[in-house]
């Protein structure tokens, strides 16, 4: 088992980290601080944050409707939520381009803009928050909410003071996963963004371009940065998961 993990995962990662600094630390700093890579990294983090935030709000709302307000056809909606997990991401990109691209039937022309990157990442990361909040909402005891209501609390107060605190760890771990996914996403972004340097080029595509034009050292430097971000996010998700299940384990 450990051998498998070493050969498949650890060894390639080691090779990556090693080659990122094979030309020295100064070359590593050089490649992660060129204007183009900095611009790509900034765009990546900004869009990913915006995407994670948007899906935090709407994902919670969708989970709420599915759990608390089931309607005719809600089980179908529930099944469709997982579509972005099952659909190849490049297809997701093509579909967003079909609806919001040059031949848009709704006359939204977002192709090759930052808005298109935002839209396609919303698609790809949609399930994360819904799927982490749903089980927690199922577990939450509604008696406390009823007690609050009977004591005269308004709906907003009930949600903010009673419901939100119990689902917050779920929301946050979903957000962290969506953020990690949005940072690294390639397939869906490559078609819709047009990959224009300083404008719509995200970090993962920058790596792709550099490696295919022979700049392995530069690509490795930025890749190591993304690797570090992934590790930090995984640690955060692990911590949040423990926080989310603290009632079960107690």
């Amino acid at each position: 088992m450990t051998t498998f993990l070493t050969v498949i995962v650890a060894l390639p990662i080691a090779a990556l980290v090693w080659s990122s600094r094979s030309d020295g630390l100064s070359s590593f700093w050089y490649w992660i601080s060129t204007p183009e890579s900095v611009s790509a990294l900034k765009l990546t983090v900004a869009v990913a944050a915006l995407v994670a935030l948007t899906n935090a709000i709407f994902g919670t709302l969708i989970a709420w409707v599915l759990v608390r307000d089931p309607f005719r056809g809600s089980s179908l909606v529930n099944a469709i939520i997982d579509l972005p997990f099952a659909l190849p991401t490049i297809v997701a990109g093509l579909l967003v381009l079909a609806l919001y691209g040059p031949e848009s039937p709704v006359h939204v022309h977002a192709a090759f803009t930052r808005a298109a990157i935002y839209l396609v990442l919303l698609f790809v990361t949609l399930p994360f928050v819904v799927r982490t909040v749903q089980p927690v909402l199922h577990e939450v005891d509604t008696q406390m909410e009823e007690a609050a209501r009977s004591l005269g609390a308004r709906e907003a107060t009930v949600f903010l003071r009673i419901v939100l605190p119990s689902i917050l760890p779920g929301i946050l771990s979903g957000v962290a996963m969506a953020f990690a996914r949005a940072i690294g996403e390639v397939g869906s972004v490559t078609l819709v963004s047009g990959n224009r340097p300083f404008h719509t080029e995200v970090a993962s595509i920058w790596i792709l371009n550099q490696s295919s034009s022979g700049n392995a050292t530069g690509a490795a430097a930025v890749a190591v940065l993304l690797l570090a971000i992934s590790f930090v996010l995984l640690l955060a998700i692990g911590g949040l998961r423990r926080l989310a299940t603290r009632h079960e384990r107690a």
Binding site: M1, T2, F4, L5, I8, V9, L11, P12, I13, A15, L16, W18, S19, F58, L61, I62, W64, V65, D69, F71, N78, A79, I80, I81, L83, A86, P88, T89, I90, V91, A92, L94, L95, A98, L99, Y100, P105, V106, L122, E155, M177, A180, G184, E185, V186, G187, T190, S204, I207, L208, S211, A216, A219, A220, A223, L226, S230, F231, L234, I237
Partner: protein
């Protein structure tokens, strides 16, 4: 209370409206565009020799990656839940890593390991083994990105069922193998099957890592997802939407399977 009804109705509409704009609208476009481009044209693109070859490559990769990761996922899940060993935290972290890591980083890592100047590059060249721009590297990339899915399904299920039955079997004289086949595996089978379904979907849809290591040569190292891009870049709309439709139909079949398997997981 009319205001409560209104509130419920508006929350529901906002949620469904968002799904329509972000998810269902684009999905509907797929069917619409294939129809608009002409079913015949889409069909001829899908049955083109290079496309069929691309699907074959994708299936070959999945046929290797899915069984490997299924076995690994079960073994790894058992080790993490049932045993204590040094470096367990590290194993746990590496299993989860592909969930958070960009596929491009995966592809690049393999490129640097097996490429001409990589650690294994010279040895491989000397022995005439082609890894990069050939099936082996594409399999390695796909196995890497799909490592976590079976393990992640198996681990919570193993925790939930506990080890009392396994210990009982052990006390009654069952060997390790017998306990595994008769007690453990049957009780986690739905989690394993669910994990296999998700792993398969991930393998069929892999793009970023394979894009770097495959070289994307039509009729040779092109997978189905790379084929979609190839058609798109050659401004062949019927082709890219046709291949996408096939991939989407597979995704929908996967979705149906996931939905059917989910409740059983809870009752098992």
């Amino acid at each position: 209370m009319p205001s409560a009804a209104l509130r419920r109705w508006s929350v529901r509409s906002v949620a469904l409206g968002y799904l329509l704009v972000v998810l269902m609208g684009p999905l509907a476009m797929l069917f619409w565009r294939v129809w608009a481009e002409g079913l015949g044209q889409a069909w001829s693109a899908v049955t083109e020799a290079d496309t069929l070859h691309a699907f074959q490559v994708t299936l070959e990769i999945a046929a290797i990656a899915v069984p490997l990761n299924t076995i690994f996922g079960v073994v790894c899940g058992l080790a993490i839940v049932r045993r204590r060993f040094p470096g367990k935290g590290l194993v746990n972290a590496f299993v989860d890593l592909p969930l958070a890591l960009s596929p491009v980083v995966v592809g690049l890592s393999l490129f640097l390991l097996y490429g001409r100047t990589g650690w294994f590059g010279p040895w491989l060249t000397d022995h005439g083994v082609r890894v990069l721009f050939a099936l082996p590297s594409m399999v390695l990339a796909t196995v890497f990105v799909s490592v976590p899915y079976v393990a992640r399904e198996v681990i919570p299920t193993l925790r939930e069922i506990g080890d009392e039955q396994e210990q009982a079997a052990h006390t009654l004289g069952a060997s390790g193998w017998q306990t595994f086949w008769r007690i453990t595996l049957p009780s986690i089978r739905w989690a394993v099957i669910y994990g296999v379904v998700v792993t398969t979907a991930r393998c069929l849809g892999e793009y970023g890592a394979v894009a770097i290591v495959s070289g994307s040569i039509s009729g040779r190292t092109e997978t189905a997802t790379l084929r979609v891009q190839d058609y798109y870049e050659n401004i062949d709309q019927a082709g890219s939407f046709g291949v996408s439709l096939v991939l989407a139909l597979i995704a929908i079949a996967v979705l149906v399977l996931m939905t059917l398997l989910k409740p059983k997981e809870g009752t098992a």
